[in-house]
Structure formats: structure tokens, C-alpha cells
Symmetry: C2
Subunit: 295 residues, 2 copies
Amino acid sequence: MRIGFVGLGAMGAPMARNLHRASLLAGVWNRTQGKAAALAAELGCNAYPTLADLAADCDVVGICVSADADLREVVAGLSPGLGAGKIVIDFSTVGAGTARALHARLAAGGVGFLDCPVSGGIEGARQGTLAIMAGGDEAVFERARPVLEAVGRKIAHLGPSGAGQATKATNQIMCAGIIQAVAEAMAFAQAEGLPLERVIDTLGQGAGSSWYFVNRAPYMAKGQYPAGFRVRLHEKDLRICREMAAAHGARLPVVESTLAEYAALIRDGHGDEDISTIYRSKSALFADADGKPGA
Amino acid sequence: MRIGFVGLGAMGAPMARNLHRASLLAGVWNRTQGKAAALAAELGCNAYPTLADLAADCDVVGICVSADADLREVVAGLSPGLGAGKIVIDFSTVGAGTARALHARLAAGGVGFLDCPVSGGIEGARQGTLAIMAGGDEAVFERARPVLEAVGRKIAHLGPSGAGQATKATNQIMCAGIIQAVAEAMAFAQAEGLPLERVIDTLGQGAGSSWYFVNRAPYMAKGQYPAGFRVRLHEKDLRICREMAAAHGARLPVVESTLAEYAALIRDGHGDEDISTIYRSKSALFADADGKPGA
């Protein structure tokens, strides 16, 4: 099986490396061509001149880009080289509607399309331990399994096209509400003068606990927010959630309030910090009142 | 050490039983005296005619009541029987200010006071596995340890008087935001037609996970909300959080939005269901739009 990989950013580059380690990588393409040339030289694989060349030379194309428009553009570029039996796997986080539209368009030419957004961050991408949430035809998913197993560890098929993106969106909604809850609670604890490390240790074992509390409340206690999961990226994902909910005519309170807080954080220059930086805004609720800096 | 226990409700009665099992229980008192008489007859301990009699006969008094006013009334009733060296342990969830005021008043007479709110629910109370968040003088805490160990398992001293209540309030704020996040995400997943059990299984292992997601999202998937942690009780606790925040001049968005949702749920007759019943309101965001029942 020959794999081509498109999009060599912070997530895509280490994923391509893992495909190379699994002896699956035929070559790469990147919008900034220098990046592709450098990686190809390092790994000894092809740096394709065009997306169509990559598609023509490969059985499976993996994609990891930033936004819906980028994905549509990449698939359009691949199209002349695609043909019946080939598979396109999109690892980007985009709207489920975008995934379903591309799935339908490619299916008409006998090309498989899987939406496979991931979670686990840059560390997971490097270590090949990403969680992969797949949507698409089951038979295509099974054929693509060796590729998925080369880049991820927890691999789940959630249903037809779009189900992977919808599951990822579900996760991002949870992260939004949880980071708000953890930050608001920690700001309260700080205002009450509690020993924050002991509070984290005590409550981390109970029913109010969460991955974010155990792993990110310590950032808040120290006032340091190394990225992590950047505000800017979660903001982008929540805009997708907003659009998907709007397609049902729904407006989601947790999503909307988090987007509002993120807009302020980005405006104030914190967009590239970990989302636990929302502790800044929650602390300000108390600082303003107590007349401390921030008032 | 002779312990008297006051407040034999759903939490207090099993706590008194565990003190009896540890051979520490001298007797009980309850506002509805029949309950105290029945438990005393069953366990072969005293049913004291008055709170002052209980206080006079015991070294340590444990209390588990519903609200700040109940607690103040109980301590007033105990007062004539209290004296230097005795300890009052309050297991109720009340405001940290109430705890600090009682601590100060009793300290004047040489009586120790610990705020020791618990978590772990009725099951934890029965099994003696409650988490106990203690505030108060360290020496008093150490003397009270055998009593705490008879009713709980994870016992933490968080600082001076009020620190136990403040820690419990911190936990209740987290629970509020998390249950909203989980319910909103699950309602979204349902609207997207995802297989909910598989979604829970997949996301339950990731960074968006939480105790509430793993343990309560399955209730939402089934549309069944056995109590659990009743809306009515969490609502009471969040009012305490609101008051404590207001003492700093702060208004907490997660707390306020959850109180608003709970008010509607209680009005609609869901106050005695588990807090996961908030899934009803979140589902309605989609049901209204899709013209399903609830529109």
C-alpha cells in the first residue's frame, strides 16, 4: 500500500514520519513546498510537484490541514489523479457537512473518503498514539486500517461519513464547558485562600474531577499556560460546533459563552497559550471586585 | 471517646451507623424525634431528649443537617451542654462564613469546631467511604481523626475554619460546569445521530473526559435519571457558592447559568432527579428547532 501525505504542519509532519516508519509512505506534498522537499530529502521519499501527481502515484492519500476551505482545495487538486478503489483519509478537524459533501463527490468516482479527526495533540502525533474518530463506509475503514494504526492507537469507527467529525465536535464541546468549570472553580478557590495544590489533590479523586482538572488546574495554580491545546485552535473547532448546531437551528450556551471568552483572550494576546489560560478571565472576576490588578 | 450524632437524614443515619460499628456512638438526636428513637432502639444507644443533654454526655458531636439556619439552630441548642475540650464536627454543606462564625463563637468557650463537608453521596455514607474536606484547627482535626475515619476514607485537612466548606464549594462549581458540558455535548451527539454508547466509550478515554461523562452520560443516552445527586441539593449548594462569591463582589457565570437551568427543571418537576436530567433542557435546544416534541 502506497500512501501520500498532504499537510506537513505541527500534526501532519510527525504523522507522515510515522507512516514512513511503518514503510507505508510513498511521498508528501505541502502548500509551502520547501517543507515537503526537506522532509522528502530526510526520509528518502517523493516530494510530488502537484497534488494530482501524488494522487496518481498512491493508493491512499492522508490529509492534515487547518480549515474546511483548505481541505476542499486539496481534494480539488487531488481529483485528476484519483480513481476507483483509491482512498482519501482526512485527519483535519472540519465540519461534518464538509466531510459528507466530499464523501458524496468522491463516491461518484469510486473513491473512498474517511473523516478521521484525531485527538491527543502534538505529543500523540509524534508518538503515534493519537485517538482517531472515523466516519465513512465500513469496508473502506477496514481497508484503511493499516494506515490508521500507523499513526494512532485508539481507533474507533463511529458510523457513516461525518460521524468522525461529529464525534470530535462532541468532544470539543465538552472541553469548552470543562475548562470553564475548572477555571471558574480554581479562581474561586484562589479567592478563598485555599491551598491550591492540596485542593487539586483532594478533588482530583472525586466525582467533580476531569482530565482537565487533574492535568491543567496545576497550570492555573502556577499561572503558566504552555501550549498544549492553543486557544486559537479550540476557538476554530468551536466555530465548527456552532455551525453544525446552527444547521439544526440550535444555539449552544456552553459553546457561545466559551467563544466569547476566547475572543477576549485572543484580543488580549493569549491566543497561542493553552486553553487553561481562561483562568485569567475567571480570576479577573474576583480581582476586579477586590481591587487587585485587573480592576 | 463518646460521640453524639445529630441529624439522621439520608446521609446522617448511615454515618451514625458507621460510628456505632466503630464503637464510638453514645447516642443520637433528630428534629423528628421518632427517627432518633427508632435508630437508638435498633442500635442500643441513647436517644437524648434535648441537644443540650447530648452535648453534656458526649466528647464529640457530629452534625449532618440541610442548611445554614438548621446548623446555627442545632449549635445554639447544643451550647448549654458544651464545654472546654469538646469538639463539634459539622458534616453538612453550608457557607464558609457560617462555619467561621460558629468556629469563632465556640472557640471563645474552648470548644473545637471543624467544618467537614463530605462527598460520595448516600452510597459513600453507607459504606463509610465518604471523602471528607476538613477545615479548622489542626490539633482539633487530629483529635477528631478517629471519628472522621469511622465515616470516611479520603480525609483531607484543607486549612483553617471554612476551608472545608470552600473546598466543597469549589467542587460543586466544577460539577455545575461539567454536567452542563456533558449534557450539551450529548444532546449535540444525539442530534447528529451518533451511536451514543460508542461515543461514550471512545471519548471517555480522552482529554475531554470526566467522572460525570463516564458515569452519567449513559443515563442521558437512556433518558433515565435515577438520583444520584438530586438537582434540588446541587441547587442549594450552588446558592451557597453564589453567596460566597458575592462576598468577594464576584458573580460566577457557570454558577449563574446552572442555577437558571435548575430553576426551570425544578419548576417542571425534575428537582428530585439526578443532575444529569439537565440533558432534558439541552436536548430541547435541538428538539425545539427540529420541531420534535418539546417544540
